[in-house]
Symmetry: C2
Subunit: 319 residues, 2 copies
Amino acid sequence: MSRRVFRELASIEEAKARLAEHFRPKPGGVEVLPLAKALGRVLSRDIEAGMDVPPFDRASMDGYAVLAEDTFGAEENKPVELRVMGRVGAGERPEVDVEKGTAAEISTGAPIPKGANAVIMVEYTVSKNGVVKVYRPVVPGENVMSAGSDIMAGEVVLRKATALTSRETAVAAALGIAEVQVFRRPVVAVISTGNEIVAPGARLEYGKIYDINSQSICDSVRECGGQPVFLGVARDEEEDIKGKIRAGLTSADIVVISGGTSAGVGDLLYRIINDLGSPGMLVHGVAVRPGKPTIIAVVDGKPIFGLPGYPTSALMIFD
Amino acid sequence: MSRRVFRELASIEEAKARLAEHFRPKPGGVEVLPLAKALGRVLSRDIEAGMDVPPFDRASMDGYAVLAEDTFGAEENKPVELRVMGRVGAGERPEVDVEKGTAAEISTGAPIPKGANAVIMVEYTVSKNGVVKVYRPVVPGENVMSAGSDIMAGEVVLRKATALTSRETAVAAALGIAEVQVFRRPVVAVISTGNEIVAPGARLEYGKIYDINSQSICDSVRECGGQPVFLGVARDEEEDIKGKIRAGLTSADIVVISGGTSAGVGDLLYRIINDLGSPGMLVHGVAVRPGKPTIIAVVDGKPIFGLPGYPTSALMIFD
């Protein structure tokens, strides 16, 4: 009956606690990437806005930059007339100021000239001979995107440990950031065990089955942002399994072993892992389905996970 | 007022219908990839199971392969005794048959020997001197995974046009499939326009803003499984924009232009696109926020999308 001893199932909380006691995930270094290659990566430090976005007051419509006060009382039948002092296009530095009784033609995205505090949409104006008739009033700030209204300088816009989607890379682009510092992707060694396991593509003899778990675990690791390294299928023999785990501990940050479904192999893994270093086995069996029998161990500061049949449990453990 | 003529907003349905009339998405070819590189790609044909999974009746527990009928009536105080004829390990071809009054020791995953129809878990047995005492009855099929119970030969397990996640690659692996045929990723040319637009990393003069859309659209394309090619920022000038769109039509499957927020630039794009080929512009303005003013066009059988400020609309259109 001794082979049952280590099969006391741990609750998920207990399993996590035991792991946390012996293993503190630490970033495996950082690297600097061009923003264009950063999608899916995880920030290794906060990004603080070095500037306002937009960096200046901007027109959000085509029309005329005006002093809002000048337009008060304008009506369809009683337009206000303003002298057009010039034009500001997108990307241009305004060469005119807007004073009482004047206006400047302005394009969407162009900087609001000094003096103006609103934009009247071109649709509500008629321009002729250097004079624009304004048929509606605007309030101060109307059709103006204020400097810093999207992002304010000094604001922390992206937090360390954020995974970058197209939303976050857009925020970085808005700030003119061309390179970001991200965590190195964790390298995960993936090992299959089992005398019955054959790699896809090989011929399947009677009694053998194809290796599902390696593919599934490697792709799950990729989906989680890790970098899998498949170390092959180990036979259910001490030396083969031990050699592959040792190789995994040397080359990777995390080792994931799948297979070992039968109690005998579980015991073998148990012994091998404890032989390899301390603290060794922490959990043998987690009380979740399909997590049982799951192995959690730490050797030389690196976690080792042993997974049974299907790899859904891998993701549960990774979280 | 003529510059308003083309700004009748289309509903999303209408925009889709107009596009569908002039453009029928056709796969841009297929390629064969090793399964290990296929994550995220889209199948270009159905995958039919060429075999049962599992391929044979398999033990799902460690124990003894038996004739269930032999165990009927077994109780804690009245075990049934069976002669142990041998042992079947995982991956082994059974060398024994199980006949009435006999059993074979069996490991999880091992093929059920001929004659047996159930597995009694080792926990409910005691074995000594070639005889196993069975303390509980089992029903036929108990602790046996039947051949084909996961996947049956001939079944279509993965459909054409399925995007491969770790679930689907696992199914392919289970069938021993080492290579899959997938669609080539659509190449999407991305162009920014605007005199005020500056690439991230460059110095920002007054009146300029950083190019947000290129980054965001390129990464959205990546997230959708496409392959973006950034063609740079065009100035709001006919020749620059025309040259970049022409380059996009030559090198890519789809062209996406962002910027052109002001009405004047919209008109410019309108003229340029109609100049480039037929049918040209299909939609100018879609009645969704933040989709307006969106351009949908087809030139030489390739779709061109013009997007305004923020790229959320890109995804809405792609769908």
